[in-house]
């Protein structure tokens, strides 16, 4: 049983893992030819930190009572979660090539492990805006039983347009649930345009503060900055904390960076090859080559 994060990786490994996760996302999407590229690529650093340093879990025992709870409220970001879960040991690497295919556990949007989803997924998401309420419920229940588990929920910034998120934010503030940390992927992009064009969110930090939250702003593509922010969030008692993490949509792939048009499309085969050439291979190695090559060949045909 891991007492803390089972990997507890060093800084350099976290960085290398983030790059590997980006390579995995590109490959998965090249094979599926369906799914979201931009948001997931931007979140690779945060997911590397979460699963290789921050979260407490046991990949061989997903119901381990001492685990931390992580909820991905913006379910369309699944590719980064799936790649990370494979790398963290929740399921075999080769299964990544089944994203969005018939009979897969890698559903287009996350399904829980006890229905037809991947181990490590606690509840469904995809319809935006529901994760905060769930996280608040879990945090309240854990607090009632005086349990030390921590609850994390990750939202997209466009997702914050949904009213239910603010209902949950208000509930968390009302109950001062300090075993809860929210993370906002502040990439200023959503489907139709940049967030200030679709629906202005600023002053975003002030909004959370007004709802009785502690707010920490950081660079979500800087691993050390993000780790410090989460440490600080967990240390604050008496109110919930939100880490507003500035990221770049499509981070790591030059032609996708900071471009909202990459929100929901996969790279074509040539674009994928270009992306992989920009993301240097890592010591962790790609998931089974021949399998995805074969499937890419099928897609190309």
């Amino acid at each position: 049983m891991p007492a803390s994060n089972p990997h507890n990786s060093e800084m350099r490994d976290l960085q290398e893992m983030a790059r590997q996760i980006r390579r995995d996302i590109i490959k998965m999407l090249m094979i599926s030819q369906s799914g979201h590229s931009g948001g997931p690529l931007g979140l690779a650093d945060i997911f590397s930190c979460l699963y290789f340093r921050i979260l407490k879990y046991d990949p061989s025992n997903v119901t381990w009572p001492e685990r931390d709870y992580f909820f991905l409220s913006a379910g369309h970001l699944a590719p980064v979660w799936y790649a990370t879960l494979a790398r963290a040991g929740f399921y075999p690497l080769s299964e990544m090539s089944t994203l969005r295919k018939i009979n897969t556990r890698l559903q287009g949007h996350p399904a829980p492990w006890y229905t037809h989803g991947l181990p490590g997924i606690e509840i469904a998401s995809g319809s935006l805006g529901q994760g905060m309420s769930i996280a608040v419920g879990a945090a309240l229940g854990l607090r009632m039983d005086r349990k030390p588990n921590h609850v994390y929920v990750l939202h997209g910034d466009g997702e914050l347009d949904e009213g239910q998120v603010w209902e949950g934010i208000m509930t968390a503030g009302h109950y001062s649930v300090d075993n809860l940390t929210a993370i906002v992927d502040r990439n200023f992009c959503q489907i139709d345009n940049r967030t200030d064009k679709v629906m202005e969110l600023e002053p975003l930090a002030d909004k959370w503060r007004a709802f009785r939250w502690n707010v920490i702003e950081c660079d979500g593509n800087d691993i050390s900055d993000f780790l410090v922010a989460v440490e600080e969030a967990k240390a604050i008692k008496g109110k919930p904390s939100v880490v507003i993490a500035k990221t770049f949509m499509g981070k790591g792939v030059s032609f996708m960076e900071d471009d909202y048009r990459w929100h929901g499309v996969p790279p074509g085969i040539e674009q994928g090859k270009q992306a992989l050439s920009e993301l240097e291979p890592t010591k962790f190695g790609d998931f089974v080559e021949f399998e995805w090559e074969k499937q890419v060949a099928e897609v190309v045909k």
């Binding site: 709870y69 399904a111 829980p112 006890y114 229905t115 606690e122 509840i123 469904a124 998401s125 995809g126 319809s127 805006g129 529901q130 994760g131 905060m132 309420s133 769930i134 996280a135 608040v136 419920g137 879990a138 945090a139 309240l140 229940g141 854990l142 009632m144 039983d145 349990k147 009213g163 239910q164 209902e167 949950g168 208000m170 509930t171 009302h174 109950y175």
Partner: protein, 319 residues
């Protein structure tokens, strides 16, 4: 004919309230969520008795369903309470994704259902909730008929550990006619009156109306079977099929839209298994209005006289 007597009147929502107090005592994992209507849906007694296990989430039913899901995930048995329209209609997508698709054993307890909620008018008369909840996979839908049955339904719902349960009940005081000697099992209908000419399948407040209708019909030498279909999903198909085969004519009765409720559930099943002439006593594809519950039942065609009329009509179609 068996006669079924009323032993006084009490509200079904009071049955909910009393069940909560017992559950609170019996099971420390039971928690209740309220949305600023605690007095009227009667969760206030639980809140007073177990303040640490009651969560006010404000007027925020979507949030309530999510918070309930989260509580359920960490081992609690959450009971979410609201008025019918705001328990099913407002948070439909939250119920669909966070509770049904995710198999969370949350109990959604909806008070003030149907047109009989009365003076508040159409905005508060949930006439579509059974339809909405019934189409969700992994959902159980229960509509008890009186105080005691509501209490028993709420208490038995705790034994369902996979997927959500929607329990629909009412505001007004209504006759108490079930007793402990009758069995209550989720998914198993109760045949209250045996009959051979026609079967009336009813749920909720229309069960009492059906009993009254059967007495009127008996005086005219029409023998009506009365079935209390307290569980609308999963449907007790065996009891329906037997009634269809033996009486060869059916009337369904409910305080709900004609489309999508109990009548539809029965018809969908029999159309496939044993097509049978059926008349629907329900609100006929229209919204309600203010008035007293009893007045509205008459005006909108879901009272005992309407059941009697429907029986006569279906008997003319009987082969």
């Amino acid at each position: 004919m068996t006669t079924i007597e009323s032993k006084g009147e009490k509200a079904t929502r009071q049955g909910f309230s009393d069940a909560l107090l017992e559950l609170g005592k019996e099971n420390p994992d039971v928690v209740v969520l309220g949305g600023d209507v605690s007095g009227s849906v009667k969760v206030d007694a639980f809140a007073k008795a177990y303040p640490d296990r009651f969560f006010s989430v404000g007027v925020a039913e979507a949030d309530m369903m999510g918070v309930a899901a989260g509580l359920s995930l960490v081992g609690k048995i959450p009971i979410a309470s609201a008025y019918g329209e705001f328990a099913a209609g407002r948070p439909f997508d939250q119920i669909r994704q966070s509770l049904a698709y995710s198999e969370m054993p949350v109990k959604i307890c909806a008070s003030h259902c149907g047109i009989t909620v009365g003076p508040d008018g159409a905005t508060h008369q949930s006439l579509e909730d059974v339809a909405l909840m019934r189409v969700l996979p992994r959902m159980t839908v229960i509509c008890p008929c009186d105080y005691l049955e509501t209490k028993r339904a709420v208490k038995s719902s705790i034994s369902i550990t996979k997927g959500p349960v929607y329990i629909r009940f009412f505001r007004d005081n209504t006759p108490m006619f079930t007793d402990e000697s009758m069995s209550f099992e989720i998914g198993k209908a109760n045949t209250l009156i045996d009959g051979t000419d026609v079967t009336i399948i009813a749920a909720g407040l229309q069960v009492w109306e059906a009993i009254q209708a059967a007495e009127v019909l008996a005086a005219e030498r029409i023998s009506a079977r009365v079935i209390n279909m307290h569980t609308i999903k999963p449907l007790d198909k065996k009891t329906i099929l037997k009634a269809a085969q033996e009486t060869r004519a059916l009337v369904t009765a409910e305080d709900h839209q004609i489309h999508g409720g109990l009548g539809s559930a029965v018809a969908e099943y029999l159309a496939q298994e044993h097509p049978t002439p059926q008349e629907f006593v329900a609100v006929n594809d229209t919204f309600g209005e203010s008035g007293k519950g009893a007045e509205l039942m008459k005006k909108y065609g879901i009272a005992r006289e309407d059941i009697v009329k429907a029986v006569k009509k279906v008997l003319r179609r009987k082969k």
